[in-house]
């Protein structure tokens, strides 16, 4: 029959028991030969694992790693360029359209809201004359009055 404390041995070794359980375990180890033997065997096992020599990385380890990093960076640049070509045409189209609208608006806005020329300013100052513009413009009717009157008589 296994001792109920046996399952605590590992957690006790690793300092993962609550303080109360750790105290109980320490007391138990002092009296239970079976658990004490297992505790010592497992502690020895840990020491054996920790005594394994540390591996030295090979000479090419770092070089190979940085080569892999460089390859990845290069691939990433290519992928970005490919993505730009895949998706970028929409951006280019939208940009061109926006530029066209901007140029169109600025050109035609200038045409519709251009400033008055000096001649127009003089005319504007003589608005009272301009108000008579239609009358003055129709003066030629008066000048050609005889011709018009002649046409009426013949008809």
């Amino acid at each position: 029959m296994t001792c109920p404390y046996e399952t605590w041995i590992s957690a006790f070794m690793d300092g993962e028991l609550t303080p109360q359980r750790a105290d109980a375990m320490a007391d138990h180890l002092a009296g239970c030969h079976g658990c004490k033997a297992k505790y010592e065997a497992l502690t020895g096992l840990d020491q054996l694992l920790q005594s394994l020599p540390e591996l030295k990385p090979s000479e090419q380890f770092e070089r190979t790693f940085w080569k892999k990093v460089a390859d990845w960076e290069e691939n990433r640049s290519r992928r970005r360029l490919a993505d730009w070509f895949k998706r970028g045409w929409r951006t280019v189209l939208a940009g061109s359209l926006a530029l066209f609208i901007l140029v169109f608006v600025s050109v035609f806005q200038g045409r519709f809201t251009r400033s008055l020329s000096p001649e127009e300013i003089i005319l504007a100052e003589q608005m009272d004359v301009l108000q008579q513009y239609e009358l003055i413009n129709n003066l030629e009717i008066l000048e050609n009055w005889e011709a018009i009157a002649g046409e009426d008589e013949s008809s």
Partner: protein, 189 residues
């Protein structure tokens, strides 16, 4: 890591220099082959390099680093070539480059017999470790060789703290039995 995340490559180089041996060692205890362990360690650091943007300092950096190492090791284990290498590991104590591993073990070189004994002992322990189920091996290595707490190991191998406790306890007992059997087998021959 936060400095590297902000674009400082020197910070990554410092992390790489600081942790490379530990990660190679961890991978080696998992797969049992130095060349493979170096490949896995490179994959771990590449993942760190590529995934820097996604790093959030929720826990210690080393906890996150070893969590990635666990994932890389488990992924590799699922590949067929890994199993092939395990089979060939028993065949020869030499590295893939063909040079005897013995030269890599100690510095300065002790007596030839001591070296052979040391090499044999290391092979026995490694063979016993390879006989453990993968999660027991990972949990034991993270605890005994890298000093992580049960809570941290739970995060790294994605299981509860009580499951980690069981894994480590069973792992130790299992490893003890495997080593006893291996030594008993060695003595008979």
């Amino acid at each position: 890591m936060l400095a590297f995340q902000a674009g400082n490559l020197g910070a990554f180089q410092a992390l790489f220099a600081k942790y490379q041996k530990k990660i190679i060692q961890f991978c080696h205890r998992f797969c049992g082959d130095q060349a493979m362990a170096e490949e896995l360690a490179q994959e771990v650091f590449l993942n760190i390099y590529r995934g820097a943007a996604g790093y959030r300092p929720k826990a210690r950096f080393s906890t996150w680093l070893f969590q990635i190492a666990v994932n890389v090791c488990l992924n590799e284990m699922r590949k067929e070539k890994y199993r092939h290498r395990i089979d060939s590991m028993d065949a020869s104590p030499e590295t893939e480059s063909g040079k005897p591993r013995i030269k890599e073990l100690c510095d300065p070189a002790p007596d030839q017999n001591e070296l052979l004994e040391q090499q044999e002992r290391e092979m026995m322990i490694q063979k016993a470790l390879m006989g453990l189920p993968e999660k027991q091996r990972l949990a034991l290595s993270l605890r005994v060789l890298n000093g992580f707490s049960y809570q941290e190991i739970g995060t790294q191998i994605r299981c509860s703290e009580s499951a980690v406790k069981t894994l480590i306890h069973r792992g130790r007992q299992h490893l003890k039995e495997l080593l006893e059997n291996l030594y008993a087998g060695g003595d008979k021959s």
